[in-house]
Amino acid sequence: MDTTQNQRDWTSHPPLIAPGYKSTIFRGPSQNLITVPELMKPSSGPIFGLESVAPLDHDLTKNGIKNGEPLGERIVVSGRVLNQHGQPLKNTLIEVWQANAAGRYVHKRDQHHAPLDPNFFGAGRCVTNEEGIFKFYTIKPGAYPWGNHPNAWRPNHIHFSVFGPNIGTRLVTQMYFPGDPLLDYDPIYLAVPEKARERLISTFDLSLTEEGFALGYQFDIVLRGHHSTPFENE
């Protein structure tokens, strides 16, 4: 058995303190994390299934409608959730939230003076199917300014929260879009080790694109493998 497959791979994840992203300096733990031996890792955890999701949860172009269609470019985002052996993880809950097409969040704390869209809420969730595939519809989020440094703008992104089979596979991440010029200036994206950055960028996919309706983007998510997955007991 590969005993390292469980580890959080710190050559793939951003460090806890990344000075370019200022608030990490005061909020990221400074002491080393305590490594837990393989056999002591919690291997069970709650599983969320389809019952966690309401019918319109996967369609952000509809779940916030008050009196019309939301503004902006409709997109469909789909991908697979896999473990590190490339095996699909079914019944995996994904929660997403994002800014509207103008770069404004519904969140009360967002003071960016871009318009709110009365017909766009910006949050949803979906669950992967038997093949580990998820799919949701939304509006392409806009870029927005933030206070980290002068003239700081976040690239277009969708926030993802993912549950895997156990507490070790928990992941919160952000999906970006190909060719975004702001990526080169974003300390949150750039805090990720260089070799792993492109894993956060979705790819445009004409085969996902729905004619006359929405542009398709593909985004696969790889969670840590675990020895309790059926495959490894074979």
Partner: protein
């Protein structure tokens, strides 16, 4: 076999509330997990309140952290369907209670394995934290079990107290306090699972 690379973590950012803890922040969207794990009306298990704050390097209580707790019930089982009024995952943001508290209604779990002390898993997410961190909440009532707990034994003795919730009220309901210090002299111990 070449393994696929892990998808990197990114911060939850300051605007998680309407996506992840909408009911708490009064958004019109259903919450999947709330600060209430144990429903006192449907439950015979012993209810406790677990509360705390998240302090940054300057000793300021963070108002945009999201705390997730995972725990088994008093019988040692994970419950993810409403079952006898207990749900195994709780979530709360620190932005709605005055003083920036998180506050969960739950029970003290059974020990997950023999030889372990009862503990609640806690995951910390916040703006300014690029990768979430894990800690474990122990209870001061279990002095002997805590002494033998294999996770606590991994921790230098002088830092173990950062993982022990203090009982600050006995009745009518037991209240335990567990404060997180992200940095500084009292920095909380975080584990890498």
């Amino acid at each position: 076999m070449n393994k696929l690379g892990q998808t990197p973590s990114q911060t939850v950012g300051p605007y998680f509330a309407y996506g992840l803890t909408p009911e708490q922040y009064k958004f019109d969207h259903k919450s999947l997990a709330t600060p209430v794990l144990l429903d006192a009306n449907k439950n015979t298990q012993d209810l406790i309140i677990l509360r705390g704050k998240v302090y940054d390097l300057h000793g300021e209580a963070v108002d945009d952290a999201m705390i997730e707790i995972w725990q088994v019930d008093q019988k040692g089982e994970f419950q993810t369907k409403p079952h006898q009024g207990f749900f195994s995952i709780g979530r709360m943001g620190t932005g709605t209670l005055e003083g920036n508290w998180f506050e969960f209604t739950t029970c003290i779990p059974a020990a997950e394995k023999s030889g372990q002390a009862p503990a609640i898993h806690m995951i910390v997410f916040m703006r300014g934290l690029l990768s979430h961190v894990y800690t474990r909440v122990y209870f001061e009532d279990f002095k002997e079990l805590n002494q033998e707990d294999p996770y606590l034994k991994l921790v230098a003795e002088e830092r173990r107290n950062t993982l022990i919730a203090k009982k600050v009220q006995e009745s009518p309901v037991a209240i335990y306090e567990f404060n997180l210090h992200m940095q500084g002299e009292k920095e909380t111990v975080f584990f890498d699972y």
